[in-house]
Symmetry: C2
Subunit: 317 residues, 2 copies
């Protein structure tokens, strides 16, 4: 039996056939065309799946389920995307649309939760019962796995870990609050802070790194500057990791998971991020001698997380 996962993004629709071990045996993608009508986008998703199945020689009987991951809110039970701000989807019945073409169970889940599922079943949190996966991108996505089940609260909206305030009255957040973790640790926040620091420090190497145009700053720029020994770069990263450490310590005091997995672009820094992060977290978390403590690791599933996580939604249901 195979699982099909679809990563419905604002730019691309990526779909894959996934085996029981979490290996993508066949994948394909098409442009989303985000301004199109929901009907057209959903039809493309169906077509993509049917083509993949045909190419790989599978019929309906070989497919356990189809899972779709997308940012936003879902009515999981009825297979409806309630809201997706990238696509202007509102109350789009995916299940109904798919079941015109193929009669297998359809699952929907938030993209941050799909990342958590992928890491839990096949990635950095494999073998652990309790994990928290943090995905750092435009925002901060959180996915919580408790007792090998995805935790989403009573209304399916839980685990919005990026929208917990860590500095009351702090930086503006996209959610309308001030001082959310997302407003300090998302890639966009790091870019904002890099730009601000560069503006204040005309001698910083950041200016060279972005070719003299601060619009070219990305989430890697400050890390690159720090690697070159640039004082401003070092300060930005030190502050970034200090705040990250406070937020992660909060998550440990709340969840005491076996492992926290950090994914998204910034996680590619690996030990450059993890070593100072673990150091700065020391003494901030509850726990007792002899009791297990939370491992802090980077994600392993990379770009496949979206497809594999969507495919494996039923595994953590």
């Amino acid at each position: 039996m195979y699982y099909i996962g679809i990563d419905l993004g604002g730019t691309n629709i990526a779909a894959g056939i996934v085996d029981d071990e979490g290996k993508i045996v066949k994948k394909a993608s098409v442009k989303t065309g985000r301004t199109r009508k929901p009907d057209e986008i959903v039809e493309d998703m169906c077509r993509l799946v049917l083509d993949l199945m045909k190419d790989f020689g599978l019929t309906e009987k070989d497919i356990y389920s189809i899972g779709i991951g997308s940012p936003g809110s879902h009515d999981r039970e009825n297979g409806i995307i309630l809201y997706n701000n990238n696509l202007n989807f509102k109350n789009v019945n995916i299940k109904e649309a798919f079941q015109k073409y193929i009669n297998v169970p359809i699952y929907l889940e938030n993209d941050a939760n799909c990342a958590a599922i992928a890491e839990s079943v096949a990635g950095a949190a494999k073998g652990y019962e309790h994990s928290v996966t943090i995905t750092i991108g435009t925002g901060i996505g959180g996915g919580v796995v408790i007792n090998n089940k995805l935790f989403t609260g009573t209304n399916g909206q839980g685990g919005e870990l990026g929208h917990t305030v860590i500095i009351i009255g702090g930086e503006d957040c996209t959610c309308g609050r001030k001082g959310c973790w997302e407003a300090y640790s998302a890639a966009t926040a790091l870019i904002r802070d890099t730009r601000r620091a560069a503006e204040k420090n005309p001698d910083s190497k950041i200016h060279e790194l972005c070719g003299g145009n601060l619009d070219n700053i990305d989430a890697k720029t400050a890390f690159d500057a720090a690697r070159l020994g640039d004082k401003t770069g070092i300060e930005i990263i030190d502050n970034y990791i200090s705040i990250f450490a406070e937020a992660l310590a909060n998550m440990i005091n709340i969840f005491q998971p076996d492992v926290i997995v950090i994914g998204g672009g910034v996680s590619k820094e690996g030990d450059n991020l993890l070593i100072p992060l673990r150091e700065k977290m020391r003494g901030k978390t509850y726990g007792n001698e002899g009791l297990p403590t939370t491992h802090i690791v980077v994600a392993q599933m990379g770009n496949d997380a979206g497809i594999v996580g969507a495919a494996f939604i039923p595994k953590l249901n």
Copy 2:
């Protein structure tokens, strides 16, 4: 069948026989004598239980279990209090001690978790699958119930909700961090803020309310001053509730529980606390039209929470 609950506090050991509905049918207490040796304290606990059983005419066969709630950390499986800073208990094997006298299952749990169990089984969260109980006292205790089970993370130390930083670099917390929720919303924090404001405002009614001696300020003083229309009192309470609202909104974005129960002394303010709190939380939590939202209520179990919660540990195990 009956359940026995013991609330092991720094001042009193309170024990009770609890029926299946959460009603305490018989209770008694003795002074803890916190400076005594653990052995002596544990022996008093056993004697208290045996006396209660004798007085109520119960034998071992009538008792489903004995549960003990105390602040600190526990090895639940082996019935050992690992650490209790009120009593200087370290690695005290309660189970072994009790089983010299009575052969029934022994359960141990953190006191904040016992409060959550009591509210979940017999109090303000009864009938809800997902609840978060916040107990406001010297500190802020948190207890999380997910799918009608107490959630404590992989090492039993989870749910330390009071030790999540909401203002990085803020007020000193007893845990060693700065800016924890506890450092703003515990009764001790409210007393500190009331005192500070009184010192700055010699005309405030707070001075009369505490008989001219600021050492007499308690967690009710600022609420009382606000009720009298005192500007300083109103400001203290407004600030207190504003911060509380941010922290509770964080908890909703994380857990999306059916209900958040607020217990402890401050909760006796009832609607004086709840109405502005709900108002200040508006717009701060994730959720979608048509989906259930979290109820915010005050605790119902009062002083019985410790005994009933300890008695009912096995119900949420």
